[in-house]
Every structure is written in C-alpha cells, then in structure tokens.
Symmetry: D2
Subunit: 502 residues, 4 copies
C-alpha cells in the first residue's frame, strides 16, 4: 500500500530534529561532559535523552523519555562509566511521544558493542530493512537508526571498522549525522550531502563530535572544523587526536538552510558561518528586498530577534527605496513590542472556547505604548501553518497598531520536509497552495514580504546547488517517491513580496 | 574466562521469577483481561510489567519498569488494541533493577511481528546467541528472551509456525515457560522438563494461557489443564479453542518443587496439585518427621501459615512420638504470635546502627502474651541466608519465650539455583557448608528441623525423578558448567533434624 | 440551618480514626523514634502524616498528605531537631481527602509554641469555636483540633500548664486522645470517658505516649500502662519519668469496643487486654452463641482470622449444641479458603460494568478444593454496608460451596458512629433498618449469626456501662443532637442470630 | 534578643516578592481568570501558588508549593467555585523553601470568611502580633499575612468592612499590596507609601485587581488605573464596578524603584509608566552619564536588553562626550553577544570543582565573532553580589574581547532591602563597602559605570521624595531598627562611575 509507505516514511522513526554528541577523553570520565553537551543541544530535542558509554570492558546505557535535567541524576551518571561515549536528544514528532525511538540505540554483536545516535532521515530505510529481514534480522523499532545499526554490525563481521562504515554509507541514502561508539572507539559520520550539521571540537584532554559548536563551547573546547559531507571521523581512544576518512564523495552538498534560519542556536557556527551572523544578514537582505517604512520594527521573540536587529540596522542606513538615508532621518525604530511569558509550559490548562483568544496573550503580550497609533513591521523567521502569525497580527491591531506589516526571513514554505523540521504535509502549509498575496490576506497583514532563495544562498555563503531547498522549491536533492528531484534541474528564484497595494 | 561466564549466566538476563500470560478472545479487547491477569501474577515479579497486543494489522506494546498498577492507566490500555495479546511481570534480580530486560520482548521481522514473554532460564543461551551473532545478528539486551525471539524469527523464514517452534525448542536448553504472540496468534510453550509452570484456562469468550491458575480465576475462567512439558499450545484466533502439539518428549520432567514451597500463590493449582493443599500436607509431614511438643506453634506470616496449619493439625492427632493423642491431650496450640506490619515499604528509611535491632520489629512484632513463658515452635517455608530466622528467634526470646524451636517446610538449601529463585551463590546459603546442628546454632534456635526430600516428592505427588531438586541436592537436571547433573545418579534422601540435645 | 450543622459535625474535621504519638528523650533526637512509631500506627491513618518537634529554642514541623514512607525522608527528618516531639497519622474520611486537617496542628502564641495531635471527635466543638470567635479568634480549618489549640493557648495566658489543660478539658466534650507539645514539654491527655486508646511506654532513654502499645514495641520499649480516662500525663524533659494528674473524673468510661473488634492492631494491648486475645475469645463466644456445624470454617482475610481461630478452637471442644465433642468427632475444620492479593492498590483501574463481578476475585480468590462440595462457615469481624459480604457469599457459591453460613464477631451495626469509624449515616448501614433475617437474605447467606453485646463486654472484660456501644444500640454516651444518650438508660442485650430455617 | 528579632524580620515570613490578584465577575466563575492571571504574574514568585474563591455560601481554597502549572489542574480549578476570589504567587526567599507561608491565607471567623494575598513586608508585625497574642491569639505561621488577617478579623467584630480595614491600616506599618476576599466580596488595599504596585482593570464582565497590568492584559481587560497609596478598593459583587475609599493619606509616597529596574514585567504599566519605556530611558541616561565608546554594546540577556537598546540608541545620536555624532560615525554597534540556554533548570547537576568555570557557559555562551578582538560594553540592570558579573567579564575576555566595560542601569546597591528583593545583608552586597573603582577591580572590568539616583527619579517621572531608595542610599522611608530613616533628611545624589584610568 503506497500511501501507507509514505505515511510511515515521513511519520515514524524520523530523527531529523535531534542532537547528537560523541566524546573521547584520555583519562576523564565521559558521562558528565556528555551530559553538559546534551544540555547545550536541548533545543534540538525535548522528547528523550540518552547516553551510552563504554569503559573498555562493557557498554553502559541510560536512555529515557524527558528533558536532559529529568532523565539524568548523579546516580545514573555514575553508572555510565568509561572515558568514551555518545549522547542523543530527540524531538517530539508530530505523531506524538514515541518511546520506541529514544536513542542512542545500543546493541551487542559478534565483534563487540555498538551505540548509535542519529540525526537525519533515510529515504531507503525500508529497502535495507527488507533486505536484512530476508537474512533473518528482527527489529525492535520502526526507526532508521536500528536499520543502520544492523547493517553496520553485519558489515563488521567481514570488514574492519572503516571499510564497514564505508559499505554501510554506500547502501543508505538520505540525511544522517551520526555519532557511533564501537566499544570504546567513538566515531562521527556525516552523510555525503552534509544535510545535517556535525562538527569536531578539541578539549584540553580529548575530542568531541557534536551537532553544533555551542556544545563544544559548553565544554570550554575549541571548534576544529565541521565534519565534511561523506567523511568518517574516528577519535583516538587516548584523546590525543582523530583520524579522518573521506569515504564518499558527491559533487554537490545539500545543506539544510533551515538549520540557519530556525533550528540551530544563534551562537553555533554551522558549516563555517555563525548562525547569529547569518540571521542578521538575512534581516539586512530582507530590508533590502522588501523593506517597508513604518514607525517601528519589532521581532517575534525570540525567533525573529536576530533578523529584526539586522533589518533595523539596514533600515538605518538606506531607505526602503534603497537610497542613502538623509542625515535627519533616523529610519525605522527598533523596539521590543511583544513580551514573552517564559513560564507557560506543558502543563498549561487550555482555555475554554470563549477564552481561546486570550490564550495567545498568555504567551505574548503587546506593549501598548510601542504599538498604539503606530505603523508596525513584525519580523519572524518563517511561516509554517500561519496560525501564530494570524494571532499576532490581530494582537497588534487590538493594541492599536495603525498598520501591521509582516516580513519573513525565509522564502515561502511550499512543500513538506522529508528530512524533518516538522512540516509534514502540504495541507498543513499555509503557502503550499496560496500566493503571497493570499497568505497576506489569510493572516490579515497590511503587507507581507518573504526573503528570496538567492538571498538565502548569499547569506549562507553557499551555492544554491549545495543547499537542500526542498521545502521552498518542492524539488529535493534526494529521490523521494512522488516528488521531483532537483539534482538535474535549474532552480528558479522564488522569493516574493505582497505589497500593501496588491 | 570461566568465572565470568558463570556470573553472567546466573546473574544477567534471568527470567525465572516472572509471570507470563496470553489471551485470545474472539470479540473482546484483550488488554483489560491481560491487565487483570498481571495483577493476579504480581507476586511473581514487581520490577516491570508489560503487555503486547495485535489488532490484526499492527502490534501494540506498553512495557515499563514498576508495578502493574503504576505501569498501566486507562490511556495506555486503550492504545493496546486487539483481541489477542500477551503479558509479563518481572522480578527484581539480585543484580539490581535492569530496565533492559523488561518484557514482553517485541520485534518485527520478515513474516510479521513477534512478542515473547518468558519465565525461565536457558543454559545454552550463550551458544545460540553466538551462532546467531556469526550470522550477523545484533542484540539489544543480555536477555535469553531476545535470543529465543531471534532464533524463532529466523526459523520462521523457512518453516511454518509449528515447525519453527519445534526447531527452536530443539536448540534451546533450560527452563522456559513462554507465551508468544505471532501477529494475532497467541501461543504457549513449556520446556521439555516442565520446570516452570504454565496452564490453560477457558473463558466465556476465549482462552487464556498463564503461569498460574489464579490468573484464570481472576478472569472468571476455568482451569482446563497444565501445558505439558514439551508441548506447544496454539490458541484459535476466534477464541473457540486451542490446538496442541507435543513437540519434544523427555523421559523425566524436572518440575521446580520450590514453586509449591514458596513461589506460587496458595490458591493456584500447579501441575495438578493445589499449592495450599501441598503446603498444608508438607506441614503435616513436618510434624511427623520432626515434630516437637511445645506450648504453642506459630507461623512466620505469611509464608509459613499454610505449613503451620497442617503441622498443628497433625499435632492434634498424634504426639511427636507418633502415638495417638490421649483424649485429654490437646496437643500443640496453634496461634499467631508474630504480627506483620503491611505498610513497611520500599521508601522506608533504614535505622541507624544502634537502632538496627528495632528494624525487624517494625515488620514483625511478637504478641507477648502468646509467647511469654512458653515453649514455642516457629514454622517457616525455607531458610536461605538465615538472617531473618536469626532475628526472629531472638525476637521471640526477647518476648519471653522459654524455648524456640524452628521447623522448616523444605530440605536444607545447599546449592545455588541456576533456574532462578534468587539463591545465586553457595556463599549466601547458610546451609551450604553447615550441618543442620551448625545452622541451628547459627540462628540460635533450641532445635531445628528440616523436611526430607522424600516428603517433598510425596506431598507433590511426583516421583523425585520428575522434580528439579538441584538446590537441595547440588545435582541438577541440566548440564551446568561446574555442577553435577542428576540425570544419571541415584539421589540420597537428605531431610534432617538437629534436636535440642545435639 | 440545623441539617447543615449536623453534616458538618459528622463529616468535616473528624479525627477519630487517627494515630497519635509523643516522645521525650533526654539526649537522643526524637524525630526517628517518632517516625518509626508512625509506621507502627500507619493502619490508623493513611491520608496524612506529620511530626512536630521542639529543640528548646524553636518548633519544627513537617506535615504532608500521604503515607509515612512518602511524607518523610532523611532530609525532612534531619530538620526536625530536638529531643521532644509529637506525631500523627490521619485516616481518609468519607468526605474525601482533606489537606486542611493534616496534623499535628502547630501554633505559636504568647507563652511559646503548641503542637497538637488529636484522635477523636468533640461534640461541642461548634459551641467553643463560636465562643472563641466572639473573642476575635480566626480559624484556618474546620477541625476540632484547632479549636482545642486556641482554647488551650488562651487558657495558658492566665494559668499554668496543668490548670490550663484542666480548664480546656472542662470545656470540651467528646472523644479525644491527645499528644501535645508545649515547647519541648510533651503531654498526653485522654478524654474523661477514655473513648480512644492512649498508653504510656518506657524506653531506655525516655518515655513515649502512643495510641497503641505496638508503637512502643517498635521502639523496643515497655508498656507502662494505659493513660487513664480524664488523666493528663506530662513527660519529664530529661526522659527520666512522667507526672500524672487526674484532672477530670467520671463515674463511667465509654471505651470504644470497635477498637478491639476492628481498628487496633492485634498485637496491641488496649485498656489492659491484648487485642488478638480479645478477638480470639470473641470467636470462641461466637461459636458458643451461634455455632453451626459445617465442613469447614474460614476467615475473611485478614480481618476475620483471629475470630476464626478462636471459633474453630471452640468448635473442636464442643458441638454447636454445646455438648462435649465425641472422641472421634474432629469438629469443624479450619482452613484458609480465600486468598488475598496484597498488590491490588489505589491505582487499580476499575473493571467495566460487565467485568464488575470479576473485581472481587482480584482481591480475594477462593481456594476451590477447600470449598467445593462443602458446607462453609465464613467468619468476619463486622458487617457495615454489606456489599463485600454479599460478594464473598456469591464467590464461595460460585466456587462450589454447598452452603455458606456467615458468622460475625460483633453485634449488628444499627446506628452511625459520631466518634468516627467511617459509619456515618443510617442509610449506609445494612442492619440499620433490617432484621438479622433480612440482612441474611440480603447478603444471600444460608444463615447469619452476630455476636451479642453481652459477649462483647465479657471478652473485653469491661462492664457494658464502661463501653461506648452507640453504633450497636443507637444510644450514645454523649449528648448528640437528635440521638438518645445511654447514660441514664438500661441497655438491652441485642446479639442476634438468623438460623438457616428462619 | 535584638539580633534574633532582626534576623526574623528580614528572613522569615517576607512576602515582598510576590504577585497578588483579585477578581469579581457577575456571572462567570472566577477560578480560570485567576489561574491565567497567576500565570501572567509567575515571574513574581515561583515557590508556591494559590487561589481562594467564595461561592456565596462557602470559601474554597487550593494552595500548594510549586509553579502555577503544577499546582492547578482541571480538577482543582473545578472545586474553586464562585464568581469572586483572589490568588497569590510567592517567591523563594533566601532562607529556602517555606511551605508555612504559601498564600492566600484563609480563615473563618465570627463574621464569615477571610482570604488574604499579600505582597510586601510589615515593619511592625512583631508588635501587632504581640498585642494579639496578649489577647489570646495563636498563630500557625511566622508570616505578616496571618497577623493582618487576625487584626482585620478582630476589627470586623466591631466595625463594618471599610472601617475595619481603616483601623488595621492605621495599625500596620510597612509595605503591603493586598487582595482580600471577605466572603464573596473582593478588596484591594495598597499601603500609604504605595511601596508595592497594585492596579485595577476592567473586564467585559467584571473587575480585576492585580500586582501588574500585564495580568489584566492576559484577561483581555483594560487598565483603569493604579490603586492609590492608602486606598481601599471594593469590587461590586455583580461585576458592575468598584468603590474607592482613601483611608490613609501621607505626604510622600515611597514607590520601590526596583520594580521598574528589575522586578516587574517590561509590558506592565506601574504607577503610570510603562516598565519597558522606563528601562529604555534608563539606558539612554546611562549613555549620557557614563557612555564609553566601544566597538559593540551588548545586553546581559534577558534582564539588560531594554537598557542596552536605549543605551545603543542614545549612542547613535551623541558621542560619549555628549557631542552630536558625525554623519559617518555609526556610533556603538548593538549586538547580542551572549546567548542564553533556556533549558538549564532546577534539576541541573552541578559541575565538579574543576568543571565549575564551565557552568556559566551552560547558561550564557558568548558569540565569539561578536566579541573577538573587539572592545565591548556589557549592560545589565543591577549588580547585587557581583558573582555573575565577574563570570561574564571573564567569559567575554576568554572569547577574545579586547576590553570589557560594564554599565549598570541602577545606582550601586549599598544597603539591604527590608521590603524584599532578596538583598538581605550588607555582607552579601559587593558595593556595600567598596568604592565603584573597587567593585570594578573585583569584577575585573576595564571600566564600570552605575546610573545616578537623579536619573532614576527622572526616568520614573517621580520626585525622589516619592521613591523608596533605601537600598541605594541606606536611608529608608520606614522606621527600621538600626537603620536611618530618610523622611527628614536630604538625599545626596550617589550615581557614580569608575573610568578605566581610575
């Protein structure tokens, strides 16, 4: 049943929005550094957390549903013995909490033990799984990670570590940033397209591999470099260094631009660029492409803040028409006009039907004096479903805004992400079947401006050919049933704007 | 490393002290009957509980650490859809809480899904695991159950269900009572020695397979019969009946006598005899073998109660010398002399060193008037380490007992149980290297009497050749490294008594 | 509104079914002995637990909802500094969990601090509360205990401790067993009728006052004697002894007979008699009054066990007609015919409507071989609502019992208890408006026998005039609105039996 | 004991850092609006939360330790019946969690029921408590709130509501913003100095009184005005309006300036000024008073953000010397240079000694590219102990900052706050006995600038005579033992700066 396959592929067992880490220290126990790293990566997944270590003789594992701070305590950390290990945090997927897929996934096999922490999504997991089932393998979960683990274990029967990883990499297709522990050896692997981020850091007494450089900072380490697409990195057991093996080469990468726009921490350096800088530059480009002169520009906190800072900066230099500002023209004022209540958490009791409109004000409250009687530009990173944008526009109007203009630091999202990021079906996407003007009307803004794909590529300092732009073009760098691949096509520039007078 | 193997085999992944159940109903959802069954089997395991069901299309699983009442709620039961399923409760092993081994173990493989709930311990799990690892299999746990699941899944690639089970049974050795779900078909399998109990029950609208008949009672069902050693029972999907396949035949069974002495519920019928009746008869035999005339006889609650009832009954009929009681001789008075505090639970804060002696009085308090100035016989089911016995003898002396005689409803435990029951090493066993007189002195009793092996066999209505008596003879019905097998030897009768004047 | 007042008086703020303790040690910290005592008294209340101590300078308090083992941990015990203190456990009342009334109740006032732990119920709390409100007092709860605390605090403004307690005792009417801490002085007070139990124990290094002697046993102490009705006991601060003040004298006591029948631990000595002995003797009397010759006699576990033991003993000596047994007549066999599942706890998911009948079998399962084809006598301590009795009779019939006869170790409960014990309204009581024959028919038994009030008094070794028999006579030793007082009337003997051929 | 009194006064029972709310609706249940209000006020207290309502017949209360989201669920809200009620959130005080003082405090007394929610601290609570104790009152807590409740209840015996409140206000001295429920009438009271904020809001169907206007926004209401110092506001039962009574008049107010600097939400309007505006203006003034030309200016997130925005704005207009910027001089660049990890919560496992320095990087991570090789100005709202400032300066230096200049949006804190705000003793305050230059050296900054008191008053648009400036002057608007009162003195201007070349 084709439909069923589709649903499973994009619903079950996805690990795209996860954080992974691996640590190898010469002398020091790995558990606490892994624990602090996972704290630094907590934004990449709040559903489950886990650590697997190896003490030279035995593998130790502690994986549970919940936040890092709830999953681990002094007792559990103390049982995770050994100077080498890996860790994982996992994002709640649309399909709900799914304990089956908490990671790292740990197995023992003929040649020892394996631990795998996976960020990404395979597009041919079903095929490989099916091949392994034909050979008698039985699986405890629907997850891609178990498929990789079984395949790797099987290859390790007949090949050394590097060749076994190479064989597995040649079989699996899709996105994967992996940290792997083979007994007490820690590995990092990044898929040939480099879709998900992975980087290497140097500590005083060892090395670390992590999804984001912020995890390295947390350990007081130094970012060495990103793991290259198609590269295998093997940390030395004594913490003295690492070996690199370029196992698979592809002409083009397919870095996910959404990591920079939304998913990664602003203080992380991803594929050579600082996320905060990128967002600020995206904000500058947004002004240049579709700036609108209003009394005030304000971010949606916290996601729009870096964009809005850049936008306002650029607005201080040139006018919306691209002219140099006159000396006495202060440009657009930057202000925080929406205050975020940081205490509204999971246990919140939802308002009844007639209290529904109040719900958004519990989370975000407008500062009336910043808004009242003014024309306002609201900056956010992206629009997915559009519900929040609609509520915020209304909120600002209720607070007395004369006009509300919306500017978005990314292109319209028109197609699902098969690599993750919680944008699963076209039905959910407000821009999938609407023009920019229609989206503008739907959310009730006076004008709406998205950023162009060209600017995305420019600000990320990448060629469009080296980015995965599937969600904004509908053309994917992977073969996905029923979707177009972009590997052979020339991409049009999509970025668009719906002015107030549309 | 021989030592290492021994430790692993008897320490990790044991499932001997567990409860299993399987249910197939024509129309009704299986989850709630499974839930109630697990409540009825909770005494067989308090570490974890789990249920696996299958709704004809998909397998559903909910397995967690904790008591049945904590693991399941209305929500989790409602997700366990389907009219067929299996359940499991697991005992905390000596090595501490072990989340890896919570069951049922669920996998999917080429031909569908498998769920396994296992009570028992294989003696050749390492060998089979090793063979499977040679074929590329990777294992997520140290447990025997996963080994059985992988072996069965592999056999199912090439054979139908009955032949696949037969092949697996021919490969695995040791004790196993299994409930298995293969998609929505529920199976029960008992090892060729029938070491662990398993029985079949009939409900109004289906059939149930369970470790003990008390689980059947809970569902208002009727006990049909025990599953026979070496038998496979396959429940009909529509709840209309079951098919039986006698897959392996052995000359002798090796039923665990300790199930009757301690482990099973008194209200269960195990291998044709009611546990309560057996215990009462063991008590009667105990009087006949080693009765002592004292003012009062009292049980250790609750484990010694049925034994003490039988002992006192017999004591009312004949004297300790075996003579008919005189008309005016009331014999030994039965009384509850120790009161149990049922609220002392897991969270109890242990007393400091100098409060230590008070600890036992929190759990068991002597009734002074029953004890003071009297000669007392205390009845328990067995002595393992001897610490509790020592404390109780002292407690009764402190309460004013003139004499304290101890009588035990089982022979001295002189050797480890490799099939389970938490008696792992000879060092822990007070009787392993002590004569009965030495044990008597160690626990401080005036006299000590154990029951003979002959009486065990008589009361269980079994031939000694059909019992596993390893823990009381040191000779085992299985090949265990470093231990003697009893399959070829004639067993001596061991039952013994250390009179007060020894 | 008169009705409202009645409801409040018997519904809110009742403390009858509670346990209290007080400890004064010369040198040792009081917190841990108080903690162990509360464990020993846990059967008297599972809703909340609390300890108040005083270290000579300051009062410390820890009171929470929950079981003793959940309320306290090492941390909380360590903050409860001081060698003197009191403790309390509270029973869930019919009206549901009520955090307002968790105790001990602690206040500070002009002359220092007061802690009160109360077991009992005042009949004039409203009046005294009203008088105190006229003087400006404000109350944080509906509880009697706060009323006593305020009254005592007020009296302490003008009188020394002993006289202040006397004044308060002269004002309050009803049942109260109190432990009180006035700064670091610990007191015990028992109401002039001695309705609720309270006793004094001697430890190696101090003294203890507790609801039941079992708490003293737990601390390895010796029972000195009961606190006398109307007596105040003041423990010496240095643990060297206690002073006694007989503050109020009444001609007659009004001891609650139900403490012996049901509420107290079997191993406690209450008002001079061991509860286990009393229950056994009540069982003997029950045979003598209403014995019926059946194949087997069995207790409802655990409440009926001591009664059944005595009943069976007596049945071994004489026939139901009171004749000496013939030599070859073994009388009625004693057996455990119902097995209790000790794991069915609070979190149990209730069965659906059509599974309802199975619910009782989860808790109590009949042993078929003991029951099948036999005439059975089932012994319990009392019948309140009758629902459990009805279910058990049916259970035994379903298990094949030829006849089921019920014998009860107390008289019919025909009226509410205003002093506690969860028998609040006549509507709930099966015997309130039914003859014994009607109750027999209602529960479906072949015959039903209650014990007479005369036997109650005899076995408790008390005059009926010194007992509170309100719940079995409808005449109370206290003035209760709308009820008859028994202080001036002669009580009829009620004990009754409904034979099978009624 | 004078010392003891001092300690108690500033340690126990303080309610200064709390949030209060009261709601009276004509028809709608009050519980949910109170619940959402408390969410909006959660920043004012995370230790406990509570709601008291009255349904016309009976008072209902639910108060527990914990966050609003954990304390309440659908069940508890549904028991809080009635259209009128009050709520409270409480801050964890230095002395640790203190369940005794969770609020609202609820009592019943002669004339009905009272509920009190208190934000503030009385300076003569001991005296009034002592007077009430002389009259026989007993207290369950050390809290001021219970003292107010008892005093008010006593006054209500002899006076109507308004006069009773007036009498109590004439007796109590100190800071108090109160919401009170007298049966189903809701009141708001603010102390004569208006030390703590309290305001009135209008809803569609009723009125609300709350600590901050953000709570009114959350309910979609409109801010009517602040409650005036010395005013009593009584909400109509039917939600139609409110009555005002100016009960006490003082020449000067003593508004806490720290509410604007740190404690209140930026989106709240307090005493006529929007907190966000005030902070931004304080930032502007900070530039004007002690601006330093550096490459970049960055806030300590989130507390310094509004200050830094204003500071950078002003820096774009004039130079540090107060000159108009040259056309080609962009001034100081504003950037986010420290990223906050919002997931580091309470359960965080503290690093070991040698990991200590890494701890701060878990919470705040520098963005290297923003900092490296640059001169940096770091903006925060205030410095209390100085430990965080020291760590942040070091963090920025480690990240490569050439210079680190610190600018603070408030004057040096030199004296304890007896009205709250967690600045209890001079020993804890880094500026109490240090010059600005010494503080600069202590925290390791290149220069340090505080704001002047004059600017505080200017930006709050208040006379200094109407502010409480005790913590920055050491002179208090209340009579506090051992401290100077400022009511008769002329205050010096303190604001100060320690330049780099000091």
């Amino acid at each position: 049943m084709q439909q069923g396959r589709d649903i499973r592929r994009v619903g079950d067992g996805l690990n795209e929005k996860c954080g992974v880490v691996g640590v190898s220290l010469g002398e020091r126990e790995a558990a606490r550094p892994l624990y602090y790293s996972l704290y630094a990566l907590q934004h990449r997944g709040q559903e489950s957390a886990g650590i697997v270590t190896h003490d030279g003789f035995q593998q130790h594992s502690h994986v549970e549903m919940g936040l890092v701070g709830d999953v681990f305590d002094e007792d559990s950390l103390s049982t995770l013995r050994g100077t080498a290990g890996i860790g994982h945090v996992r994002y709640p997927t649309a399909g709900g909490v799914n304990s089956c897929c908490a990671q790292p996934f740990a197995v023992s096999f003929k040649s020892g033990s394996l631990g795998l922490a996976h960020n990404g999504n395979l597009v041919n997991a079903d095929e490989i799984r099916s091949e392994l089932e034909d050979l008698g393998h039985a699986f405890t979960s629907n997850g891609d990670t178990e498929v990789i683990a079984h395949d790797l274990a099987r290859n390790l029967l007949e090949a050394d570590l590097v060749r076994a990883v190479k064989r597995t990499m040649e079989r699996i297709h899709g996105s994967y940033a992996l940290t792997i522990s083979h007994d007490d050896t820690v590995l990092g692997v990044r898929d040939p397209e480099g879709n998900r981020p992975l980087c290497i850091g140097k500590l005083d007494d060892g090395y670390v591999i992590a999804s984001e450089s912020a995890a390295i900072d947390t350990l007081d380490g130094e970012l060495v470099r990103d793991v290259r697409p198609g590269e295998l990195v093997v940390l030395e057991n004594d913490g003295s260094g690492f070996d690199s093996y370029q196992l698979v080469d592809k002409e083009n990468a397919a870095h996910c631009f959404f990591e920079h726009v939304y998913f990664s921490r602003p203080d992380s350096v991803i594929d050579g660029t600082l996320v905060y800088e990128v967002r600020r530059n995206l904000g500058r480009a947004l002004w240049e492409e579709s700036g609108v002169e209003t009394d005030v520009v304000m971010p949606v906190p916290d996601s729009g803040r870096a964009f809005a800072t850049g936008y306002a900066e650029a607005a201080g230099e040139t006018t919306a028409d691209g002219e140099q500002r006159a000396e006495d023209d202060d440009g657009v004022e930057f202000a925080e006009g929406l205050m975020k209540n940081r205490y509204v958490g999971r246990t919140f009791i939802m308002p009844t039907q007639d209290e529904r409109e109040r719900a958004v004000r519990l989370k975000l409250n407008p500062i009336r004096s910043t808004v009242e009687g003014k024309t306002v530009t609201l900056i956010d990173d992206s629009i997915v479903r559009g519900t929040t944008s609609t509520q915020l526009v209304q909120l600002l109007r209720d607070a007395g805004a004369e006009e509300v203009h919306m500017r978005i630091g990314a292109p319209p999202i028109v197609a699902p992400c098969y690599m993750g990021i919680d944008m699963h079906t076209r039905e959910e996407l407000i821009a999938a079947d609407r023009s920019v003007a229609e989206v503008r009307d739907e959310i009730g803004a006076d004008s709406l401006g998205y950023l162009s794909i060209d600017s995305i590529a420019d600000c990320l300092q990448k060629s469009q050919a080296d980015l995965c732009l599937g969600c904004v073009t509908g053309e994917y760098p992977y073969d996905i049933d029923g979707e177009t691949t972009d590997r052979d096509v020339t991409r049009p520039a999509i970025g668009a704007e719906a002015p107030a007078d549309d």
